[in-house]
Amino acid sequence: MTAHMHPEDRLRASEFLLVEDFEAMRTVLKGQLLRCGAQRVDTAKDGREAAAMLAAKTYGVVMCDYNLGPGKNGQQLLEEARLKGWINPATVWLMITAEKTSVMVSAAAEDAPDDYLLKPITESLLQTRLLKLVERKAALAGVAVAMKAQDWRGALQLCSELVAGGTKSLAEVLRLQAQLYQKLDEWPKAQALYEGVLQRGQIAWAKLGLAQVRVHLNDLAGARALLQDAVREHPQYLEAYDELAGVLHTQGDGQQQVAVLERAVNLSPNSAHRLSALGVAAQAQGQHDMAAKAFSRAIKLTEFSAVEDLEPFLGMAKLHTEAGAPGEAQKLLATMTQRYDSHDAQLLGKAEKVRALQAMGDKAGAAKLAGELVALGADENSPGAADIAMRIAETLIEAQQADAATQLLQYLTRNHYDDERLLKRTQRAFDGLGLGASGGELAAAARREATNAMKDSMQLMAAGDPQAALEGLRSAKISMPRNSRVLLNFAAVALTVLQRHGRSATLEAEMRNSIATAQALRPDDPRAADLLQQLVRWTGEPH
């Protein structure tokens, strides 16, 4: 479809999917859609049927009832469709419902449908809404595509153009813009935008955004006050509860954190994610009954959700082990790893299994698995890898696997000596192991090693010996294979060597590998993409 198509033509050209469990309503709505200008309308009577149809065909407009009887609800279907790429950024998802509920204001922007329509739906209302939505979606499709590709700069540029061009969806564009500023670490701009919006009215998302700015500035008290106000003025805005719970957790106020999450769960009992958060918080407070209840409800909900959610399984397994039922824990972990085949699920499942084995008295089995985990945890490279490895280390400490945990912590410290947040966590873990001093020493040594390697290489470069600079960085790379700074410096020097000595398949491959690892570790760092582009350009030139 071209960008300049008229909205009416867009409707005519779109494939429609109508999902509604109530047969009479299905007939009525289909008739209305056809009279509104739709030409091709498929129908589904429940989530399962709809999922199959969405997987098989790309729809331009999906009109979906929120309540679909037993099984998946409309929201779970939408999340699955986005996750599995069944719908594209220009697809309009219109949720229909009999009444306005908290789910409608609570879904995070990226999980929310494009609009909600309250029954009864009249033809004229449907037509007005559909035309408006396809037009808006078409206007914002470019931004959505850029965001999906994580091209934050590009998305921001498009947003500015939309604002300058007098977009009809100003509020939505501003919200996206502020989120993009946050992603790009341009917090003062995000702050200015949120404050501007709040001057015009009590807009809940702007309050939440401003609180996130405060958190970033480490003003937790300020964030807490803002969020408490948001929760009071917009009691159904559940995202604010989640954020508030996070702030309370950071402040060490676990009791309040449990209270806030409990309220949020009472308001909207069907979010597995929030129930897990309550479970984890309650568990930390020693409120085991509440934790168990929250985890088991969350596990039940995950049954119809395509989104991976490990927390309730891990939390419940820990509860079982600690309650003297490690066998139950193992069964649950097996269910989890069967359902989710992701790397994270396998790793965290194994870590929790170490605890269960230890509790069963299988010390040799526990130690063997812990040893395996050290190698596996170190082998990860994704943006969340360090956190996963950290979590494994923490679980291993609790499961009395001090040796394996120490190895993993040493590895983490060496590779992430410049990540303050992570270092604080490793330090706490070292403290827990009675190795208080080692964290700081290790981090300092790693920092020295990396800084020296980089400084030496710069001097060698200046002295006109890039080959020697390359060797120095290569050995730093071997001792810190997950340090993105070292990796990118290595790639930059490699490029100079290539330019001087001509093509080398081995070095080009090594450079590409370094860039890819750095990029996986820090997708937001523009240097990686930049270096890759330079390499591609250079290899394209005649040599």
């Binding site: 009479a24 009999a98 309250l118 009864p120 007005t128 009215g201 009590q202 809940a204 009691p235 159904q236």
Partner: protein, 229 residues
């Protein structure tokens, strides 16, 4: 399950049925369009009107229940006024056409949007429009303009106006809903409650009833006004 939860659940279910009935009636009405309208078309229109009233009452019941429980998802956001007006007018148009009324819309020229809860205020103005359509002789007018109090949304008609006792007692408290006014009492209570949720600084949303007068030319009948800060 306590009784109010039961009522809420039942209302939810009834609403689904009412939606289907309303859609069938609207569809039937469109197929019966003759000039002048047949008696069957007129009674279908009456049925549609009554169905909309049932729906409106159900919406208000559920909303009041949730507001009082602190469970209503109150969500003020920027609303494009022309789109808002079009959606509302779209809903009464079939009835208006059948009764041969003149439906006017008058939005202050430089006004584009305002911040309020779209669905909540939408259902308040909708009920008031249906009411005006019922009592109007020739004309119904929806107007929006900015006053010192904020955005004033007014629904006016050229009927007989509100009965004296309603003007006198104004907007009832929950205990004071007068059974003589039937669902209108509930509607007035609801509209005051909905307006009151809207606050900005010191100012709070407000509702008024009047007969005659008005800034956009006197239609002579009743006027329902909701002001949002």
């Amino acid at each position: 399950m306590d009784i109010s939860t039961f009522v809420a659940a039942a209302s939810h279910d009834m609403k689904n049925s009412v939606s289907v009935i309303a859609a069938y009636l609207e569809d039937a009405l469109a197929k019966m369009a003759t000039e002048p309208p047949s008696p069957a078309a007129l009674s279908t229109a009456q049925a549609l009107y009554e169905t909309q009233r049932v729906n409106g009452n159900l919406v208000q019941l559920m909303a009041i229940f949730k507001i009082e429980e602190g469970m209503y998802p109150f969500e003020p956001a920027e609303v494009a006024l022309d789109e808002f007006a079009n959606e509302l007018l779209g809903r009464v148009r079939p009835l208006v056409a059948l009764k041969g009324l003149d439906l006017q819309c008058d939005i202050q020229a430089d006004m584009t949007d305002w911040i309020f809860d779209h669905d909540l205020i939408g259902s308040v103005v909708m009920q008031s429009l249906f009411n005006a359509v019922r009592y109007a002789s020739h004309t119904v007018r929806l107007s929006m303009r900015v006053t010192e109090q904020g955005l004033a949304i007014e629904v006016a008609d050229d009927g007989q106006g509100f009965p004296g006792f309603m003007l006198e007692q104004g907007f009832p408290s929950r205990q004071g809903i007068d059974t003589r006014t039937g669902s209108t009492g509930l509607g007035l209570y609801f509209s005051r409650l909905a307006a009151g949720l809207h606050r900005r600084g010191e100012r709070t949303g407000y509702t008024r009833l009047a007969n005659g007068g008005g800034s956009g030319g006197d239609l002579g009948g009743g006027r329902f006004i909701i002001e949002l800060p």
